[in-house]
């Protein structure tokens, strides 16, 4: 009925980041390892020089890849992650006290982000009960089982990567490149999505959309996808 004008489309990651950055901000970045990373936005983020970032992301990238790029330039002050094993530079900066690290169990991290986006300030989980993760956290028993309280997470900015997106911000992810991207898209005060294919309105099937456009404030087509494989494993024959 309405010939809509969509104002969410940006020409480049640099333009998409314009006006939303400030030193000391909290940024969520989608991706699992190097899979489903917002590569173009991370690169542009590095070039802006924004610093003292708290980065919420499952991993810390590898050297020269993903969030590893922001470690080289020392733009990250604190990381909230579940696993940072693949990055020697991270290790070095952590051991020298240059970077703060908060480990969250992977499922707790995903749920905290989901809760943040869903307006749930806190929830209870059995994950981590009786471990270091439970220290200083509120405990409560339900049906005779112990749980700890975890809080929702929100970010000043979420950067996510999808396979296809339309001009209204609807997103579709591909295979395991989905990972943290959909929940992080919901938990940013501002969310910027980069896509491999930027589609016209109507090209995406309404039943198949993973992230409804309401969550995406800005969208751009990425031009550079290295899509590095961290651990190439082949079957014989």
């Amino acid at each position: 009925m309405i010939d809509r004008v969509y104002k969410k489309v940006y020409k480049s990651p640099k333009q998409a980041l314009d006006g939303v950055l400030f030193d000391g901000m909290i940024i969520m970045s989608g991706g699992f390892g190097l899979c489903g990373l917002p590569e173009n936005l991370i690169l542009a983020l590095r070039d802006t020089g924004v610093k003292n970032l708290t980065v919420i992301s499952n991993n810390a990238g590898t050297e020269g890849q993903g969030l590893g790029l922001l470690l080289e330039t020392r733009q990250i002050k604190k990381a909230i992650s579940s696993y940072v094993g693949e990055n020697k530079l991270f290790e070095k900066q952590y051991l020298s006290g240059d970077i703060e690290l908060e480990f969250n169990p992977q499922g707790t991290l995903a749920e905290r982000v989901r809760a943040g986006g869903a307006g749930i300030p806190a929830f209870f989980t059995a994950t981590g009960v009786g471990t270091l993760v439970a220290e200083n956290k509120k405990h409560e028993s339900f049906n005779g089982k112990d749980y700890i309280m975890e809080t929702g997470l929100v970010a000043d900015l979420s950067i996510v990567k999808a396979w296809k997106g339309d001009k209204s911000g609807n997103l579709i992810y591909r295979k395991t490149a989905r990972n943290f991207n959909p929940v992080m898209a919901t938990a940013g005060k501002i969310t910027i999505a980069e896509v491999e294919e930027l589609c016209e309105i109507g090209e995406l099937e309404a039943d198949q959309i993973h992230t409804p456009g309401i969550y995406v404030d800005r969208i751009l087509k990425g031009t550079h996808y290295s899509k590095a494989i961290e651990n190439l494993t082949l079957s014989e024959g």
Partner: protein, 209 residues
């Protein structure tokens, strides 16, 4: 002494019952997939967001958008589905996965598990291990019976920081199979081994009845 890795994986694969949804941890547990009985309908979950994990791809068929939780390239199957990390761990936390197989540094006689950090060493993170052991219906630890220095890994009380408290149901090592349920019961002993050798290599009390 005892079973080799192949034999351990083969023994572990027997715990994968028909119709099971299973999560295999990084390392030796991943290899258990090679020994699954083809007459059984077993579905593998990868906590980065996939059900129905297939074998590693043939050369040239690898897809950077299709990896497992160990960041290895994998393939999908005809009944596969993909979902977000939040949905994946809802599945895990909600008790929908039948079995998880993980490695361990220490397991205590009350089922406590330590497999994520050694104080004083750089900590890589717990990844999804804490969620898996807290949420999955049955937790199987697959590990060498002793550490590289020979010290026992099945202990009275874990000295390393825990991954989960009272979470392990079954242990398979190169020396035997052990059920944890109000103490440790020995279910099987590796063929070339006697009770005494097993006791000597284990700190925790073993129940042979």
């Amino acid at each position: 002494m005892g079973w080799n890795r192949q034999q351990m994986c083969k023994r572990a694969s027997k715990e994968l019952l028909d119709g099971f949804y299973v999560n295999l941890g990084i390392g030796m547990p991943t290899l258990v997939a090679n020994y699954i009985d083809n007459t059984k309908n077993i579905t593998l979950q990868s906590e980065n967001g996939m059900l129905g994990m297939g074998p590693f791809p043939k050369k040239g068929k690898e897809d950077p958008d299709l990896i497992n939780a160990g960041k290895q390239t994998i393939t999908s199957l005809a009944d596969s589905s993909f979902f977000s990390s939040a949905d994946s761990f809802s599945m895990i936390r909600g008790g929908h996965i039948d079995l998880s197989i993980l490695g361990a540094m220490q397991v205590s006689e009350s089922g406590d598990l330590a497999n994520w950090m050694i104080p004083g060493k750089m900590v890589k993170g717990m990844g999804g291990a804490m969620d898996l052991v807290a949420g999955v219906k049955k937790v199987l630890v697959l590990m060498d019976h002793n550490a590289k220095d020979g010290s026992p890994k099945i202990v009275r009380k874990c000295t390393l920081p825990l991954t989960g408290k009272g979470v392990v149901n079954l242990i398979i090592t190169n020396l035997g199979v052990f059920e944890i349920n109000d103490g440790i019961r020995v279910l099987e002993i590796a063929p070339d081994l006697n009770k005494e050798e097993l006791i000597n290599n284990t700190e925790a009390d073993l129940n042979f009845i």
